[in-house]
């Protein structure tokens, strides 16, 4: 029997009576946004002070109401206001320079940017919305130096693969997400319009407080909070169209028939088609599956509150149809972020969102359209579907779309409840209970159909698969913060304890032979009971952690941060149950030194350095424990009955423990010309050791799956650069910026006796196209180097061969020079990891118009065009096959056309350059003048148009050069990726 973790909470109270006056108020900026972290001290005694909270609110006890308050906030003009007997003092602070948002959300708290010792980048919420996508992960692309964002696919509603400062593991290298204090592994649910601020934590000083979950970086998101103001209603709406950016160049029917005949001849068979030219253009299957698809989002929100309660309530409807027919995604989000003041110094609040999704899963026709013969029409003359399976096992995509019924619906409740108690002036106790309850249901129905009486594309019995899943997590955090300022000292201590538990359960079943084939029959009861199957499984894991941090600032010049977290996880064996993750960082604000006061052009200069150890524990819940797999059944008996089977068919590793990443970071932050130019430069080295990975093991071991071991060491090092220029010319304000990062990824060790890790199943036979070895990047491509084509029999004699070559076949380089081509001649043929990632942006505002343009890109990485390699039969061809060798001297690059064999060995024939630059955003907006709007009772009206992904400059032949993969040892392998769309959007923002 499982015992619940019992937490005993002891409260003790002291009543201490002082003769004091409480002053409270709200500090906002000129746009009405609350300012977080404004420093407020008593003029006569600067040991009496407060800092504004998330809502820009503060409370301060003063002994004397004849005194004055001094409000300071970096980047804003300081102000001194006489109390004059008031108990509420609100203030609008004016910008001092162009520097905005000088308070930064850090793990378990907020900090002034000037006090930061870690590498943390803030993303402006407004910038996020310059891309029309429902998924916040995709919006992060090109926003932060050192962050690589690769869309997981262009399929509606899908997320992205995020790599912060390179790939630090062979395992799951995605960052941790913290939304309003709730630790999450994904943010698919999040509505971009609800975001108030987003911080990317990159170095150990920032992430070590998240211990075993921080090694791949942390993204902290704060959603919009209510403000003490008159209720404001705002409406945001946009509508757009999406189109495929490019089609892959495939052969038309005549070209296909010609090549198919040559394949047949080259493989010793009779030509397939009598008169290839007669086929003409034939069918372009890509035209069949792609469409122009709408994307739209509508949001209404209300924000307001008073001293005792603030609220932010929003509702959003997002709808994106896929550019591949039959796919789509809808999401309804409702959010209530409220805070209540119970007593003086005691606040409770909640940030809760409820999300409903409906995803239409496409029938997977992308690969079919790539492969289907163009000589087959879409429809026969009588209007029925044409049979595409005549010669190859590839169906008619149109028929697949027609017969597809596959939907997923989801309901998710995510949020937190918290209580803050301020006491004894310097203490804040916070208890935070976070929850995530994610329930999904999937239904997939296949009707009875046959494309034609002889077609293989058919289904003889209707069937329905229903599955539901529940993913639940709760988190309980209790932290105590002590803040004290005296003389030149500023000290913050944080201690806490957290526990989190996760559980997963799925339940499903299937039946066949349904009473009807319309939606009202998509229930298992409508199927034949004798055909029923069911399943139900679950898993759970838990963590228990203790954390501690000290921040100390001396004289606004010398900064120190030290932290420690201890994590215990149920995923790991008892011997390795707890891990300890320390960090230490120092900073120096040179601009606050006396000797720097005369350097006029330099408005800011800070040096900082950090070191720490963080962990990564993203493996299966029971990876440390072998499990018994059941339902491996056998048939016996005269009456042929199933007898149950069960055994330990998967190997496990009881000794596994978390990976440890040691990260060192050196950074400099500079501001020039009154901070018109801001430059940030960071250099980092991240070394991850004991990397957990399911290393491919030989099949002769006989395990059904590969066990996880702590094997490897990987180093990432590089530079992150951020440059921003902002200025005004008269009424024109403008900005230009660039971010750039370099990544050098190198495997330092692979563990005892491990010389290489192969990955990346390619082609028909699952050839391994990546080889991870010491000294090269993770997942480096591995294969033969081509040196032309064997033109004639003489050349076959003259050059080394593997054996099967004939004239017209690829000639491989004899790398080891032994006079014969063997597997030993395979070598490094490219890296999947870009060594340079960049983005630049520019914008201006004048007379209500705003304009923004953004580019992003990467270089140095290669792609394996794996879809071209996998020819199980005579599929359609990429047009590159037309350059084939046909006779001596006809080609020295493209071999004679075949479906497999020698020319389909992994070689640089299939390697393409993955570099690209993309025009990510082009935006033009117009905000109507306020005096005009007031006549209509409006506070804001802005209309805008956005174009996303309009142009991509790349040499890659596929739909997109961004090829994602969940597995870091199989990256950049393009087996057919749902393309990213280009999008044109018009939008409207209205405030009441």
């Amino acid at each position: 029997m499982k015992k619940l973790c019992s937490l005993a909470l002891f409260l003790s109270f002291w009543g201490i009576a002082f003769s004091q006056t409480t002053i409270s108020g709200t500090v906002i900026d000129e746009t009405g946004e609350p300012l977080i972290g404004v420093n407020i001290v008593l003029q006569s005694d600067n040991t009496v002070g407060a800092i504004t909270d998330f809502n820009g609110e503060y409370t301060l006890e003063v002994p004397n109401t004849n005194d004055s308050l001094v409000f300071t906030y970096i980047g804003y003009e300081p102000q001194t206001l006489a109390i004059a007997g008031r108990s509420q003092i609100n203030l609008t602070m004016k910008l001092q320079t162009n520097v905005l948002d000088d308070i930064v959300v850090v793990g378990y708290g907020v900090q002034r940017k000037s006090d930061l010792t870690g590498s943390i980048s803030s993303v402006d919420a407004e910038e996020l919305n310059r891309v029309s996508s429902g998924n916040v992960e995709q919006l992060l692309q090109g926003r932060v130096a050192g962050v690589q964002v690769t869309p997981a696919s262009g399929s509606p509603g899908t997320g992205a693969i995020i790599r912060i400062r390179g790939t630090g593991t062979l395992n799951d290298a995605s960052p941790l997400f913290v939304v309003d204090g709730m630790l999450l592994n994904d943010i698919d649910f999040l509505n971009p319009n609800d975001i108030q601020s987003l911080e990317v934590l990159k170095d150990a000083s920032a992430t070590a407080i998240y211990g075993s979950r921080g090694a791949n970086g942390v993204i902290i998101i704060t959603t919009r909070k209510g403000r003490t103001q008159e209720t404001q209603i705002s409406v945001d709406a946009y509508y757009g169209r999406q189109e495929v950016v490019t089609q892959i160049d495939l052969t038309n029917a005549a070209e296909f028939a010609q090549l198919a005949n040559e394949v047949a001849i080259n493989e010793g068979r009779q030509p397939t088609f009598d008169d290839p030219a007669a086929f003409g253009e034939g069918t372009n299957w890509q035209d069949v599956i792609f469409r122009s698809a709408p994307i739209q989002s509508y949001q209404i929100s209300a924000n307001g509150g008073n001293e005792n309660m603030t609220f932010n309530v929003s509702a959003n409807f997002f709808d994106q149809q896929g550019i591949i027919r039959g796919s789509g995604f809808e999401r309804l989000t409702a959010r209530v972020n409220n805070e209540y003041k119970l007593f003086e110094g005691v606040k409770v609040g909640h940030n809760v969102s409820f999300i409903r999704t409906n995803r239409e899963n496409g029938p997977g026709v992308l690969t079919m359209a790539y492969r289907a013969e163009p000589v087959i029409p879409v429809f026969n003359e009588d209007g029925s579907f044409a049979d595409a399976t005549v010669r190859i096992p590839v169906g008619n995509p149109e028929a697949s779309i027609f017969y597809n019924n596959n939907n997923n619906t989801g309901n998710r409740l995510v949020g937190n409840l918290y209580m803050d108690v301020n006491f004894l002036k310097h203490f804040t106790f916070r208890t935070n209970f976070g929850f995530d309850d994610n329930r999904g249901q999937g239904k997939s129905f296949v009707p009875v159909f046959e494309v034609s009486p002889t077609s293989l594309q058919r289904n003889e019995e209707s069937s329905l698969n229903v599955s539901s899943s529940t993913v639940k997590s709760w988190l309980w955090e209790n932290t105590l913060t002590y803040s004290q300022e005296w003389d030149n000292h500023r000290l913050t201590l944080l201690g806490g304890m957290t526990s989190q538990e996760f559980s997963f359960e799925n339940l499903g079943g299937s039946r066949r032979n349904f009473l009807g084939e319309t939606e009202e029959f998509f229930y298992l009861s409508a199927g034949e009971a004798e055909t029923q199957t069911n399943f139900n499984s679950g898993s759970e894991w838990s963590m228990l952690s203790y954390l501690f941090r000290v921040n100390y600032v001396f004289g606004d010049r010398y900064l120190l941060t030290a932290s420690m977290r201890a994590d215990g996880s149920s995923k790991f064996g008892e011997n390795n149950r707890y891990g300890y993750f320390p960090s230490l960082a120092l900073g120096w604000n040179l601009t606050n030194e006396n000797f720097m006061q005369n350097v006029e052009f330099l408005s800011r200069l800070k040096l900082r350095g950090s070191w720490g150890i963080i962990g990564n524990e993203k493996i299966g819940a029971y990876a440390g424990k072998p499990t018994v797999t059941s339902n491996i059944n056998a048939v016996f008996g005269v009456t042929e009955q199933l007898q149950s089977g069960a055994s330990i068919v998967d190997l496990a590793n009881p000794d596994i423990r978390w990976e440890e990443t040691e990260q060192t970071n050196i950074g400099v932050e500079m501001g020039f010309f009154n901070n018109r130019l801001i430059a940030e430069l960071d250099y980092y080295i991240r070394t991850t050791s004991d990397i957990l990975v399911a290393v491919p093991i030989p099949d002769y071991v006989g395990s059904d799956s590969n066990p996880v071991v702590n094997a490897a060491t990987v180093e990432n090092k590089g530079v992150d650069i951020n440059l921003q220029w902002r200025d005004n010319i008269g009424k024109l304000s403008y900005n230009i910026g660039a971010i750039a990062s370099t990544v050098n990824n190198e495997v330092l060790a692979l563990g005892d006796g491990q010389e290489e890790i192969f990955g990346g199943g390619l082609g028909v036979g699952g050839l391994l196209g990546t080889r991870t070895v010491v000294g090269l990047p993770i997942g480096a491509y591995y294969g033969y180097i081509t040196e032309g084509i064997f033109q004639n029999a003489q050349e076959l004699e003259n050059y080394p061969t593997r054996g099967p070559e004939t004239p017209g076949d690829l000639r491989f380089k004899d790398v080891d020079g032994d006079g014969v081509i063997t597997t030993e001649d395979r070598t490094y043929i490219g890296s999947p990891i870009p060594d340079f990632i960049y983005a630049f942006n520019a914008g201006f505002e004048i007379s209500g118009f705003d304009f923004a343009i953004e580019f992003n890109g990467q270089s140095g990485n290669k792609i394996i065009n794996a879809k071209k390699m996998a020819r199980f039969g005579t599929y359609n061809f990429e047009t590159s096959f037309l350059d084939r060798w046909t006779e001596e001297g006809s080609s020295n690059t493209e071999p004679k056309v075949t479906n497999g064999g020698h020319n389909y060995e992994v070689s640089d024939r299939f390697i393409e350059d993955g570099a690209f630059t993309r025009l990510r955003t082009l935006q033009l907006g117009y905000t109507l003048p306020r005096n005009l709007l007031e006549r209509f009772g409006l506070s804001k009206l802005r209309v805008y148009v956005i174009g996303n992904n309009l142009v991509t400059w790349t040499d890659y032949s596929g739909y997109t050069p961004e090829i994602s993969s969940g597995s870091v040892i199989s990256v950049g392998i393009d087996g057919g990726v749902y393309p990213i769309a280009k999008t044109y959007t018009v939008g409207l923002q209205v405030g009441f």
Binding site: R391, Y622, V638, S647, G753, E756, T823
Partner: protein, 488 residues
């Protein structure tokens, strides 16, 4: 307390958080699964885990697509079949243009070794279970037979293979190839142990489990393969003299549902197709008549050479090969012509009348070892051992069953010339066991595979193609300890 809190001027509260968290919070058991901590402790566990080895026999990687490829399609019995462009890797097998990357080799290698791992686990863990001794010995015997069966196929396909007899620890994952002789030694020992501990038959609910006769029959084939004719004779005769087996009267029906687990059966992969899916194999589907009515894929087309191999009027030819226009054995339909298939023929022995639970859910038992095979092993061994007269007895038993009631067909063989009789026995094996995945192994052990292959126009290279290449992936993962077969 409330009044205290309402007091405006108070600074209060000290909160102290004590945690009394039990260690249980971090102790999570697998859900919905048996725990490995307590597995292999009961009799039930021993049966469950043994059944997983049998389950492997129905696996795609063991007895289905690639398997057909490197037994029948590679031989002169069959061509690839299906449409010309379908499954290029099997075309390469058919034409001897394959290389170590061909997926067929990696497929069976993986499937057979998974079976070996499961058997190894059982052979090593069942002995420690406190349970009925007789049952324990039987189950270990079943596992040993199955392990021997898996290795016997591997050693004939690949030659030297890693000989693994215990579940490996991570530091043992890098293995070299073990000389074939040592692999054969284990096979023989396992089969001897199995023959000693297994029953001759099972109660009705357990029919299909490995018997003593199966172990002895397979052992005779193992000896025959190595040229140990005395051993082959000894164990083939042991099966014959046991009196537990008899030829099924009707050759054609032997491969239909009524012929499953017949008097002739020593070892069949047990399959059944349940309405809910499961229980079956794809053996029937991949070889089934392409398109309607069978919805098969049409692979493994009986070759021209096989068609010609039968003696005039031999009923076994019609029982083995389907042609378009032919009425299905159950009379339900005729085979319709498929214009996209050149020279259309199908393997009738893989035909099943129905496949409930999905096209890929074939209910046909896969006949691995049957009495006719043992009779011909006996005949071959006896002839080699100078007992031609006895050999003729068993050879002619097989011919007699084949001819059925038509006395004009398939006259008894009478020659006692050792060389001539050898040829007659080899010929008889071919037609009797055609399309049952035997031919390649027979040609290989008979030392004439290259000659026969070249005679049918295949690009067989002596010194190379006798053995298939070790899958390249496996060589890579062995850290280079495994060396490829010659000339690949």
């Amino acid at each position: 307390m409330k009044s205290l809190l309402y007091k405006n001027r108070l600074a209060l509260i000290m909160m102290l958080l004590l945690t009394a968290c039990s260690e249980d919070f971090l102790e999570k058991k697998p859900l919905g699964q048996l725990s490995s901590d307590t597995f292999f402790t009961t009799e039930e566990h021993a049966i469950l885990s043994t059944n997983t080895v049998y389950s492997m026999l129905r696996n795609w990687e063991v007895h289905v697509f690639s398997y057909i490829g490197i037994t029948d399609i590679v031989s002169d019995d069959a061509d690839k079949g299906s449409t010309p462009n379908d499954a290029n890797f099997l075309t390469e097998i058919d034409n001897f243009t394959f290389d170590p990357g061909n997926t067929a080799f990696g497929g069976v290698w993986s499937g057979f070794y998974r079976g070996i791992y499961r058997a190894n686990l059982n052979i090593n863990r069942i002995p420690e279970i406190d349970m009925n001794q007789a049952l324990k010995e039987r189950l270990i015997g079943e596992n040993k037979f199955l392990r021997a069966y898996f290795y016997f196929k591997l050693v004939r396909w690949f030659g030297d293979v890693p000989l693994i007899t215990v579940p490996l620890n991570p530091d043992e994952y890098k293995q070299a190839r073990t000389p074939a002789a040592q692999v054969y030694a284990l096979i023989e020992q396992d089969l001897l142990d199995a023959a000693a501990s297994l029953p001759t038959s099972y109660p009705p609910d357990d029919v299909g489990r490995i018997t003593q006769g199966a172990a002895q029959g397979l052992l005779s084939k193992v000896y025959l393969t190595q040229g140990n004719f005395a051993g082959a004779e000894q164990y083939a005769m042991a099966v014959i003299n046991s009196g537990n087996y008899a030829l099924f009267p009707n050759y054609s029906e032997l491969f239909q549902p009524q012929g499953e687990n017949s008097s002739e059966s020593l070892f069949e992969v047990q399959a059944a197709a349940f309405e809910i899916g499961g229980g079956g194999t794809q053996y029937n589907e991949v070889q089934g008549v392409r398109g309607v009515p069978n919805l098969g894929w049409g692979f493994n087309r009986p070759s021209d050479d096989l068609v010609k191999a039968y003696e005039s009027g031999d009923p076994r030819r019609d029982a083995t090969i389907f042609y378009p226009g032919e009425v299905l054995p159950d009379g339900s339909d005729i085979i319709r012509d498929n214009p996209n298939i050149e020279n259309e023929r199908f393997n009738q022995k893989a035909w099943v009348p129905d496949h409930p639970g999905g096209n890929g859910n074939g209910p046909g038992n896969i006949r691995i070892l049957r009495y006719a095979d043992v009779l011909l092993i006996a005949a071959e061994a006896l002839n080699e051992n100078g007992k031609a007269q006895e050999a003729l007895t068993y050879l002619n038993m097989v011919r007699a069953r084949a001819r059925g009631n038509n006395q004009n067909l398939l006259p008894d063989v009478t020659t006692t010339n050792q060389a001539a009789l050898r040829q007659r026995i080899w010929q008889e094996r071919r037609v009797e066991l055609a399309m049952e995945q035997q031919r390649w192994f027979d040609l290989q052990r008979q030392g004439r595979v290259g000659e026969v292959m070249r005679n049918v126009g295949k690009n067989f290279v002596d010194g190379k193609h006798e053995l298939f290449p070790i899958p390249q992936t496996e060589i890579d993962l062995s850290g280079g300890l495994m060396i490829q077969n010659p000339n690949y």
